[in-house]
Amino acid sequence: MNEAILEKLKVLAESAKYDVSCASSGTTRKNIPGGIGNAQGWGICHSFTEDGRCVSLLKIMLTNNCIYDCAYCINRRSNDLQRATFSVSELVELTIEFYRRNYIEGLFLSSGVVRNPDYTMERLVRAIKDLRTVHRFNGYIHMKSIPGASEQLVHEAGLYADRLSVNIEIPTEQNLKLLAPEKDHASVYKPMSFIQQGMLESKEDRRKFRSAPRFAPAGQSTQMIVGATSENDKQILQTSAALYQRPSMKRVYYSGFIPVNSYDNRLPALKQPPLVRENRLYQADWLMRFYEFKVDEIVDDRYPDLDLEIDPKLSWALRHPEVFPVDVNKADYSLILRIPGIGVKSAKLIVMSRRYTKITGSALKKMGVVMKKAQYFITCNELPVHTVHEASPEYVRKVLTEKKFPKSKQTDQQQLSLIFE
């Protein structure tokens, strides 16, 4: 290792940072004698960038050279930027040394496509194979499968990686064609099904032989760019819902579009990446994965876009006042989960505790329920102030979206009144 590698690292990290996937969860692996590292099922973030995103893996590209020319991508062929390529051994050493210092939980390896998909894929596979077999590394490895790579190589990658991912990037084929004419959805869905097949086969084999090799045990994930094209939230969430139908799909990531190639007039001109929308999409995604919501309960033809002012659960509740108020002392767990202001944790606490005593409003507050929201949707031992029926959904919405004065203004006002006294 020498100083020259600093420059490469900078270039290749810059190029990889727009991929938002960062999780290191889904596999538990113990260390082996003489080996280094292990993996925790729940994933560990080791740092947070100044934009507040988690750093758990060394997210890096093997090279940022690319034969494609996708409008949304910083590394597109036609961009005049500094290019760099790691050798396999440089990349492997960097991963191990960062890991030893507890900087990272493992490696997230992606790459621009050089020459052809298989040529690129083969070098990626060589890197992660070296880590596992030569360096006896048991930390987390997430690898981006290159669209269009052969089944054989995808299969080999699955033997060494914890998670494989292929990015959809643009939710509909039509818009993908517009921004990335050289790509199509088929080249994404094909490796996705190779991965799924590999996982299912390995599961079947392991039922017979416990020592059969694991294949991408943490499943696969994908990413969609939000706001670069005209899709509404309904189209995006329906795509995610369809993906979650697949047994191997663990996460869909949403990446608020950042105009890295603002000169390209196929792209919208944005002042700010659509961060609120991105956040609402993640909330909707959570509702589907952990709150037993169906996609058409969150968005439908009447409400094709998520409300930017309030979260999707509150939005659903205000559209369905007939479900409320819910009696927290009697209702099913799944119904309690639907109350705005109550999360998975507090819902569980409620169900466990009510076997002992009746739950009161103050007890709910102590358990971490956001009463500001929940109060309109529940009955507990005491009578609530007023429910969503008495107060009307419009009123509740107004109260909950009211903007308070920013703190700095308040202090200013106080100082002013002191002066005038």
Binding site: K10, C45, R53, V55, I258, M352, T357, I359, T360, M367
Partner: protein, 253 residues
């Protein structure tokens, strides 16, 4: 008011519980051996720590509580927060006095308080696992100074022992001035004679391994280039990575 004095050890606390049940008097306040007695104390009793008494109390708790709840009690003890010993005393007393387990009755204030305090310690334990940064010294030992709010170093030893099994390391609490050393086989508790030198969070450059500086620099470079400037959000950044840990974190030094 009845006051118990004890040596402020976990064993001492468990002994106090044993003694209280034996004497059938329960303290309103727990004091350290040298603490000043409050006014109006009718009775003051000094507990003499005995490991067999403590073991009996612990054993009966293990019978009545889940392993999870027993861990929680240890976490609350390691929180080192004011009054956490009295809270534990109340919790254990409730457990002993109740026919069925109380551990999931979160409507009870004591149960909820224990749960919350344990969660606080557990959160910091996780932060140690996340934010500890090792620096490689010239003698090939990886050294990491920390100063957590709660005494949670003992809770992360197993994690690091499994993860970094093939390298020697030291985890050192500069606030409590003790640490753990792993020599490729076992972990032993230790105290450094020169610990004052690491209060800044950095290893002296003269003591660093040859390419340690390079890797620190590489990590800093990487950390910087990962941030997306269009999305900068310092408030969220501090919320996720509280400032009090920064001085030990390479990327923030």
């Amino acid at each position: 008011m009845i006051v118990f004095r004890y040596d402020k050890t976990y064993e001492g606390l468990l002994t106090a519980i044993f003694d209280a049940y034996f004497r059938k008097t329960f303290p309103d306040k727990l004091l350290g051996t040298d603490d000043i007695e409050p006014m109006f104390a009718e009775e003051s009793f000094t507990v003499i720590t005995q490991s067999d008494k403590a073991a009996r109390v612990w054993k009966s708790l293990e019978k009545k509580l889940s392993a999870n709840a027993c861990n929680m009690l240890t976490y609350v003890w390691l929180s080192e927060e004011d009054g956490s010993d009295e809270l534990l005393f109340q919790y254990i007393r409730k457990t002993v006095d109740s026919k069925r387990t109380i551990e999931t009755n979160f409507a009870d204030e004591v149960v909820l308080k224990v749960h919350k305090l344990a969660m606080k310690v557990s959160k910091e334990r996780l932060r140690m696992i996340q934010f500890v940064r090792f620096q490689k010294a010239a003698d090939d030992v990886f050294f990491a100074p920390v100063s957590p709010d709660h005494n949670c170093l003992p809770l992360v030893i197993d994690h690091f022992k499994d993860r970094f099994a093939d390298q020697k390391w030291i985890l050192y609490d500069t606030k409590r001035d003790y640490g753990f050393y792993y020599d490729l086989k076992t972990v032993t508790e230790m105290t450094l004679e020169t610990s004052a030198r690491f209060s800044e969070g950095k290893l002296d450059e003269a003591l660093m391994a040859e390419d340690e500086k390079l890797f620190q620099q590489l990590w800093k470079t990487y950390f910087k280039s990962m941030a997306i400037k269009e999305r900068i959000n310092p408030k969220l950044h501090r919320q996720l990575m509280p400032k009090r840990y920064w001085k030990y974190m390479t990327e923030k030094q």
